[in-house]
């Protein structure tokens, strides 16, 4: 987007059928399709036709056609016990004439995936036209879909729990009777039916209200495309209980869980943290110890130490130094009050809106977007060592001066020296909040400290339906931590501590108070954020790599990366300046033309030309999947 804003001609090609790559968010049915896609690890047949387009003076760097950044995807449905009733309804289903949208939605996405990559997108879409929502087809497709997911899980330990999926999945189109009986108890079929109300993020992040992303959104005026909600609560998990953490001055004074003495201790410490640099004597002696050790010397009660360490600074007990801890605490405190009582904002409709907002800015400034369009290879000129063009899946050659490639597109041969970290993720749909209060509509963040010291803490973000990410009477819970094992091994212990996974035992004492998990998915996502460009093998200097999401809570890493890449390409240009008043541009041709043509180079000959593509022949930057630029 920054490139388009600076007058570059930008073509964005993406092999996915959605925006944002691993930053995307999905409706429930969309997520099911995504799960299915990532569980099937089939390789795409390579078509070699395009090789004839490469001249003798050129070399080829093949790109990976299959995204390998997601691993160990396991999904579970914790069904209700209405199965007897459901079986009956399931049998009647194919005869029903009209179906709700979710079924049809699933079909649309599936047919898109089934489309062979060599086929042109336009005829494909048209051929879909005749079977426009004719009833039975959507239902059967979705049915088969659910059944497949279930069978894939059969080897996993929770087979018993999966069984209901099969039966419940079939009833999705006719659940009105169930919902009438118990309005508050959400069934899997209701989740499927209301699937459109979900916007489930693949990454779970919050925006620090004074973080780089907020600054960039405001500066570039991209913020006008999005709306945000304040995270309303900071929670802590201590001695098996979830409690609210008071962090602002008002919170501390209003808190009923703290004694007067504690209030004074906490305020005194937080005030100190805000300008800790001014009082070096206070922490000088602890520079070489951990933040946790430092806290112990500060006359704070254990509960206050816990709050500060895990919920405010959100740092590790064992390996965070005093200075890092003070810095993190200060950052948290500085972000308080800008947009409400906590330091965090969350975008309505999910984090996945943010890349779309930047894509919109890019498009507004002339960027061209092609989804479902993959790239075979980069073409490198042997003499200059620079990348000249790409060849896409139609065998079309598209020339450009600069290329930005997301890490996931690079093939193994380029990445032999690269060592990736992984992020463990879980997404749960639950029936009540982790901490019920007078308001149901809370956005909460909870850091669960590791059981074994040295392991990473787990960040839990609970979203309510007013964030437009889940249906009414449900909560969407995201768990994230840097991986040590598979996502399920890393996160399931925490899920078991916080939630009730066993609907059969629901009448029993304390389990009753815990939210029930209705549906869950675990997966590992590649974290390519720390990889230096030099560790990729043989990439030309005008090919820039942008990473996937990192595991941190904020978005600073992605913003910094985007700005760095932009500055390398165009050192003289400002990164995402505020846009001019629209009226000034639309009606003033003279202003656009020089800007646009300034950097364009002469298009190379293209052996095959689809009419739409020809305009992108001289695009100055080819971008794939990059989030913030």
């Amino acid at each position: 987007a920054a490139c388009a804003r600076s007058g570059q001609r930008v073509l964005h090609v993406d092999s996915k059928n959605y925006y944002g790559g691993n930053w995307a968010s999905f409706s429930f049915s969309g997520l099911l399709s995504w799960i299915k896609e990532n569980q099937q690890k089939t390789d795409i047949d390579e078509c070699e036709d395009w090789k004839k387009l490469i001249l003798e003076t050129e070399e080829v760097i093949s790109l990976s056609r299959k995204d390998k950044t997601i691993q160990h995807v396991e999904d579970f449905c914790f069904g209700d016990q209405d199965s007897a009733e459901d079986v009956e309804e399931a049998g009647a289903l194919p005869k029903l004439p009209v179906f709700g949208a979710p079924g049809a939605e699933g079909v649309a996405q599936e047919s898109e995936k089934e489309c062979p990559p060599v086929e042109s997108a336009l005829p494909e879409a048209e051929s879909r036209e005749p079977d426009k929502a004719t009833g039975t087809e959507p239902a059967t497709a979705t049915e088969g879909h659910d059944a497949e997911i279930t069978s894939e899980n059969e080897s996993s330990p929770s087979t018993a729990l999966d069984k209901p999926t099969l039966e419940l999945g079939k009833t999705e189109a006719a659940p009105s009777e169930i919902s009438a009986q118990e309005p508050k108890k959400i069934t899997y079929s209701q989740i499927v039916r209301e699937g459109r109300r979900f916007n489930i993020d693949l990454v779970s992040k919050l925006l620090y209200s004074r973080g780089l992303l907020i600054d960039l959104l405001i500066k570039s005026n991209v913020s006008r495309y999005a709306e945000f909600k304040n995270a309303t609560r900071i929670l802590a998990f201590r001695e098996g209980k979830v409690e609210q953490v008071p962090c602002s001055r008002a919170d501390v004074f209003n808190s009923r869980q703290l004694t007067m003495v504690e209030k004074r201790m906490l305020m005194k410490f937080l005030t100190f943290c805000l300008d800790y640099e001014q009082h070096p004597a206070e922490y000088q002696d602890y520079k070489n110890s951990t933040f946790a050790q430092f806290l112990r010397t500060r006359k704070l009660t254990p509960s206050l130490q816990h709050f500060i360490l895990h919920s405010i600074a959100m740092v590790s007990e064992t390996d965070c130094s005093t200075l890092e801890g003070l810095q993190a605490t200060k950052k948290f405190l500085q972000c308080l009050g800008r947009y409400g009582n906590t330091p965090f904002l969350f975008p309505l409709y999910g984090q996945g809106e943010i890349p779309q907002c930047f894509c919109r800015m890019c498009a507004v400034f002339g960027g061209i977007y092609c989804l479902r369009h993959s790239v075979q290879c980069l073409v490198v000129d042997k003499e200059s060592g620079r990348c000249k063009a790409i060849v896409d899946h139609f065998g079309q050659r598209i020339s450009a001066n600069y290329f930005i490639v997301e890490d996931s597109y690079l093939s193994e041969s380029v990445c032999t020296k690269v060592c990736y970290r992984q992020i463990s993720r879980a997404v749960l749909i639950t029936d009540q909040s982790l901490l019920n209060t007078d308001s149901e509509q809370q956005v909460s963040i909870l850091t669960v400290p590791p059981v074994d010291p040295g392991k990473p803490a787990v960040c839990v973000i609970e979203l309510c339906s007013s964030t437009m990410t889940c249906m009414k009477d449900t909560y969407l819970v995201h768990l994230t931590c840097p991986s040590t094992k598979t996502a399920r091994e890393d996160l399931e212990p925490v899920v078991q501590k916080l939630f009730n996974l066993n609907p059969e035992k629901e009448a029993e004492n304390e389990e009753l108070e815990k939210p029930r998990v209705l549906w869950a998915v675990y997966f590992n996502m590649r974290d390519s954020s720390g990889v230096e460009k030099s560790s990729y093998d043989g990439l030309p200097s005008n090919v820039y790599v942008c990473s996937g999401p990192d595991s941190a809570l904020g978005n600073d890493c992605a913003v910094k990366q985007a700005e760095t890449i932009f500055q390398e390409m165009f050192p003289a240009e400002e990164f995402c300046p505020a846009p001019p008043n629209p009226e000034d541009i639309i009606y003033d041709e003279d202003e656009i033309v020089p800007e646009e043509s300034g950097f364009s180079n002469s298009p190379e000959t293209k052996p095959e030309s689809a009419t739409e593509e020809s305009s992108s022949g001289d695009s100055a930057a080819v971008k794939k999947d990059d989030n913030e630029e």
């Binding site: 997108a121 036209e129 495309y225 779309q356 061209i368 639309i586």
Partner: protein, 166 residues
């Protein structure tokens, strides 16, 4: 007003238009799709909270009418449930080279419950009528829904008050 020399709306992201409807004034926030629809790559953000969609085809091109049906389907599947749809057959000033009969469009619009009108952007025919038609169909504001649920807009500009459409 239509100007042949205007390049597509580069740099514009939304326009506003106020339409009187009964005792109310409806302020339309019109989101330009900025060409993202060209390769069927429209981002879902355009659908968020939109009250109405105007889908335009060219009465002199049968193909464009097919594409329109594709968009209707897309909107029904991914758009808000109660979205008001309007179909505009543009270039009605060129009806002598028409490929899409008025009857086809009317029948189709009826089958999907959409407003249908033939327009000429060039001669400003029926544009006002189109927006008035949409205005009449937009359900009265639900005070609960419109209170924004405490959503925060960032930045300096004043917050949006109208309903948006794409």
């Amino acid at each position: 007003h239509f100007d042949h020399n205007i390049s597509p709306t580069i740099g514009a992201s939304f326009m506003t238009k106020t339409v009187p409807c009964g005792n109310e004034l409806h302020k339309f926030l019109i989101w330009d799709t900025a060409g993202q629809e060209r390769f069927h790559s429209l981002a879902p953000m355009y659908y968020r909270g939109s009250a109405a969609a105007v889908i335009v085809y060219d009465i002199t091109k049968q193909d464009s009418f097919h594409t329109l049906k594709k968009w209707v389907k897309e909107l029904k599947e991914h758009g808000p449930e109660n979205i008001v749809m309007a179909i505009a057959g543009n270039k009605c000033d060129l009806s002598d080279i028409r490929e899409v009969p008025v009857k086809d469009a009317k029948e189709y619009a009826e089958s999907i419950g959409a407003i249908v009108v033939e327009t000429s952007a060039k001669n400003a025919v029926n544009i006002e009528e189109l927006f008035q038609g949409i205005s009449r169909q937009i359900p009265p504001l639900d005070p609960h829904e419109n209170s924004n649920n405490g959503a925060i807009k960032l930045g300096k500009q004043t917050s949006q008050t109208g309903r948006r459409c794409c």
